[in-house]
């Protein structure tokens, strides 16, 4: 016979609840533990994201202070894997060139790398149109990718500026050269067969490295 008592007995059954509590407790505990572990992992991930976010904010603020030059428009690789990079003869870019040059000198001095200079005057040597100007300077850099070596040729032998140290580093599995201008940090790296230079403006070393990490993640 159907009575309200039977109905409630069926759907809110005292014995069933008891069985559930006593017999299924362990399953529930395991499930709860699993959920707790998931929550901990989630909290860690959120925390990590938060830190990354924080770091990204710094980087975003700093991003305006970075110039990334793809060198792919300005270089040619010859059959010997020599890379010819054109340096603009304007005063500002001459500075840029000097930086590179000094950087190469530092390479030579400190690491005994095979660096040598060559003056390239023939337009054909570059195989690209160039300004016909005696002051045009060319940098020739050879990247030996597998061995992470850099071989450099520079057109101008008379570079005497003194610049601070540079350092070779690996960020996100990419070999990168970081060197310092008078106030700013610059970097040079190769990624996916293309060569880039990153110039910082008013960034300290830590900020610059953070920016590089973001750039190299892309």
């Amino acid at each position: 016979m159907t009575t309200f008592k039977n109905v409630f007995d069926k759907y809110i059954n005292q014995d069933e609840i008891y069985e559930h509590v006593v017999n299924r407790r362990h399953t529930r505990m395991l499930l709860k533990s699993a959920i707790s572990i998931c929550m901990i992992i989630l909290v860690c991930l959120v925390g990590k994201n938060f830190l990354n976010e924080k770091s990204s904010t710094i980087v975003k603020d700093a991003a305006d202070k970075v110039i990334i030059n793809s060198l792919s428009d300005n270089y040619i690789i010859d059959e010997n894997n020599l890379i010819y990079i054109q340096a603009n003869p304007s005063i500002s870019n001459q500075n840029s060139f000097y930086e590179k040059h000094t950087f190469i000198q530092e390479l030579e001095k400190n690491y005994d790398w095979n660096v040598y200079y060559a003056q390239l005057q023939n337009e054909d040597d570059l195989k690209t149109p160039m300004e016909q100007d005696d002051t045009v300077l060319f940098t020739v850099i050879k990247f030996v990718n597998n061995q992470k070596e850099i071989e450099v040729k520079i057109s101008n032998k008379d570079i005497s500026s003194k610049y601070p140290n540079f350092e070779s580093s690996i960020i996100n599995d990419i070999s990168i050269i970081i060197y310092k201008n008078i106030n700013d940090f610059n970097a040079l790296y190769e990624k996916d067969g293309l060569y880039y230079e990153v110039k910082s403006l008013n960034l300290n070393e830590k900020e610059f490295i953070e920016v590089l990490k973001v750039i190299l993640e892309k």
């Binding site: 159907t2 309200f4 109905v7 809110i12 008891y18 006593v22």
Partner: protein, 175 residues
């Protein structure tokens, strides 16, 4: 030792179930949640006994209060409850209905458990609360009125109208 604790829990469970289920029914927002909440409460009680060997009724009430609160803390658990209830609009004072009247028997003979449960869960929660307290826990009209903080007339009215409604429903189905 483990077995002793389980026996102790069983004893506590049997002794406290009527009071705790009454508390949960009176404070729930939907009669369908009662089973889940009771399970949560007694799971906590069971764990407490495993750890501390004993427990008192006041502590169990404390657990019940917290579990009910926890259960409804997150809005996704709240079910929709119609605010357009005919029963509230047409409340009639049926003081003439005696406390011990039994319309139940005639009506429920023809209904299945599922039909009754569905009917109750479709109605405003106050109806199922009153029916549970009256027919399952055998509380008097006055006790129910006190527990739910409503008048005795309202309690009688809810019971009477529920039975009347059920009878109407059966008659319709019979046709």
């Amino acid at each position: 030792m483990m077995h002793q604790k389980t026996l102790y829990f069983e004893q506590i469970y049997k002794n406290t179930y009527p009071a705790i289920s009454k508390y949960v029914v009176c404070h729930c927002e939907n009669i369908e949640d009662v089973k889940d909440i009771l399970q949560e409460i007694y799971l906590h009680v069971y764990k407490h006994i495993q750890k501390n060997n004993e427990i008192n009724i006041t502590y169990i009430y404390g657990i019940a209060r917290n579990k009910v609160k926890d259960y409804y803390r997150f809005s996704y658990k709240n079910r929709f409850i119609s605010i357009f209830s005919k029963h509230h609009e047409e409340l009639e004072m049926i003081d003439t209905i005696p406390d011990d009247y039994d319309l139940e028997r005639d009506i429920l003979l023809k209904c299945s458990n599922e039909e009754i449960w569905k009917y109750l869960t479709d109605k405003p929660v106050i109806i199922s609360k009153v029916i549970y307290l009256y027919y399952y826990l055998d509380l008097t009209i006055q006790e129910i009125a006190d527990e739910l903080n409503i008048s005795e007339s309202n309690v009688k009215n809810y019971i009477y109208r529920t039975l009347k409604d059920l009878r109407k429903k059966l008659e319709k189905e019979a046709l």
